[in-house]
Amino acid sequence: MNELRYIIGGPQGGGLETTSEILSWAFAWSGYGIISDREYFSNIKGRHSYVHATVSATELPKHLTYPVDIVAAMDAETVFTHFNDLRDGGYLIYNSDDDSVNYASIPSMERELRDRLSEQFKGLGLDGTVKSVVKYLQGNRKVRVVALSFKELLMEIQKREGIVPSQASRYISTILVGAVAAITDISQESIDYSLRRRFTREDVYRHNRAMANIVIDLVKGQFGSELKLDPPKIGVRSILVASGNDAIAMAKVVAGVRFQAYYPITPAADESFTLEEYETLGGEGSIIIFQTEDELAAINAAIGAALTGVRSSVATSGPGFDLMVEGLGWAGHNEVPVVVTYYQRGGPSTGQPTRGGQSDLLSSVFASHGEYPRIVLASGDHEEAFYDAIDAFNYAETYQVPVIHLVDKFLANTIATIPMPNLDNVRITRGVLAPRGLKEYKRFDLSSPISPRAFLGDYVMWYTGDEHDEYGHINEDPINRVRMMNKRMSKLDIIDREIPEERRYSYFGPDRPDILLVGWGFVKGVAVKAVEELTEEGIGAGYYHIRMFIPFPRNSLTKFANEVGANNLIAVEHNYMAQASKLVAMNTGIMINKSIVKYTGRPMYVHELVNAVKNVLRGSTREVVSYGA
């Protein structure tokens, strides 16, 4: 087989993130491509979380879909939550000690799921225990069941490795690693590599390896390796395995960021943590990671740092961005290059802190009192995010504007294989700088819209949030006001002229598509795959991916829309309003009247998108999809 999909579930804090990392590294080490999404509650310990992955022998996958081939369950709640996700003939790995656990007795399960299960179990005639579900899967769905007594396995490892009983439960996640490794036949060396990378303490590594080996032998002996993947033929020599947070952190280092301010917020904070691991103070290449008292301080400290000439950024999410808006206006007004890496999550208000969404697009584009130029980039996958994060600084400094780099929780917490970035093509452009030794320096010199920039310390200069004259002093003269507004706002025309149209979008699909999906951000992976599947079924679908909202890819989208016909455009987004379609209307006058949207906080899956497109072709104008636990 070329593609394998699995779910691993368990209680939050139970080692699931570790499991995801180990398996991702192991598959990648063996030459396969992987994408591994992590879904979790806003909770530290106890609530249900899971990892949902696609492994491929032929590509570096960017899509997730159902049903899955394997559900590996640390606990009973996972069995109940995900048994419907399993394909007929798939594998269920679970703890047979849980056989008698009834779904109704699980306190962490939300009532709505319990009600849905109650309904389903009544229909199927199941008594609601794990055992009854397992029997149903075996009998009706031809599922192969790997029943492991975790208790016995843990006793075994205690005995073999001399672990104290209270520590033994730490190795539960490795039981699942071993079972998945056995069924898929990933090599012993790759598991060994991953364990060693994850566990730096020798004894912990040894215990985990022993545990994995016990399970691999046991499961292989009983079940063989039926879900063995074909040998990899991706053809990418060198691969990076990283979460979205980490990919962007690495890009910021490459971009030469010297100052990052942040206030802890999910799902942005991990980026700053990663950067902080590499923080050095003083000397060449120093990076300051400044954890502030709030987001107000974060953006404004970042702007202050930017004034001194360092590359400066913040990483935040919706509630934090809202607090930053006033500061962003100051930066726009004072033409300060500052980068906001914006990880969208479900809103409004606290919304869904650990779930994904794309509902902050309009806010990114419009949030402000008054008017000022800005650039808004949106990345569709890890690779785009890496290069966009670097370009964000180049654009910010070239045009002396704040740049908002939009990503989302899906990207942030998803581990993926990406081709090793090619740094040969990375350029650092710092824009127009004032020469040294001028007799007089005017920060807001009106002789061109982009005045040469000097850094604090070079010359005496003034900045103010008030309307100002060329020196940066407060000025309320009406003619000066017009000149300054024109100076700032005309940078949008320059930006529109200079950033090539091809940079702002990409297109996937046949040369002359019959229908065109229009999306952005994390929709990319699923849409590209859906378009492939639809084309295979004879439906000529293409995907138009918007990568920049300011400047907008006006001309190319108009051209596509004219060719395909406005009536054959479908907006695909993770929000209620199909926000990008509103911006399409604003920028091109084209009304997109059909939409496929998802706002459950879970990513869109290929199977539901393909179905939704077919429904649209049958006449539906709005499809709301909602698959996934």
Partner: protein
Amino acid sequence: MERKIKLTINDYKTNVWVDWCPGCGNYGILSAMYQAFADLQLEPEKTVVVSGIGCSGKTPHFINVTGVHTLHGRALPYAEGIKLANPDLTVVVNVGDGDLLGIGAAHFVALGRRNVDLVVIMHDNTVYGLTKGQASPTLARNLQPKALPKPNIQDAVNPIGLAIAAGYTFIARGYAARVQHLKELIKKAILHKGAAFIDVLQPCVTYDNIHTYDYYNKRVYDLQEEGWDPMVKSLRSFRRRPPRHWLSPTRVMVGYQLVYSWLIQTYLRSRRDTPRGCRIT
């Protein structure tokens, strides 16, 4: 840049017309800053005056060093960003009492915790001047400066006490009408390595008819003239001095930080919010 000619007070003045009300206490603060800068021969390019919003916010435009006039309440984050990114710059912040202790109070506390090498000069006039005289966080309860429709129903915050609790390592109070004294405080604050806070009693002649020059002239006295030793030399000396009724034992940990610091304190007895015992700090 090597400078051969000595800079005078006039070199630190801009040609921007100073548009504060005639008689405003800010003139004294501005004057003290010019003099302090000239005394220290601060290089204009390497000196940054950061301000927030309000009458005090305009200060940078009147001084011929680099000026960053920021948002209401946010002067400190800007100043911290500037100083952390380029420690070679001398950074002096001018803020109002509403700016610092109202909308920006979180930043005031956070700067104390970090002890970044900045000078914070607070224009303390008990009112929001530029919005026409509302009560500020330093206005004591029951007082009714003339713009207020009713007497103030909230207690005042004690800026000195808050600065100590937050961890500032140089804490002082000056008076806008004692320019020479204020100048010396500003110089000491600039030379101090760490977060320095100067609370400046500054009469608002337009909206505060209570805390007038006359009011302060009668009450103000200089701690140093009374023989107060500003240096906290040891934890013991710090512990001994604060009277129990003002600094509770739970604040001793704050004092521990002060062991390593100057605590130059010109406590000018004033009005309102500070019981006489405050003079120990």
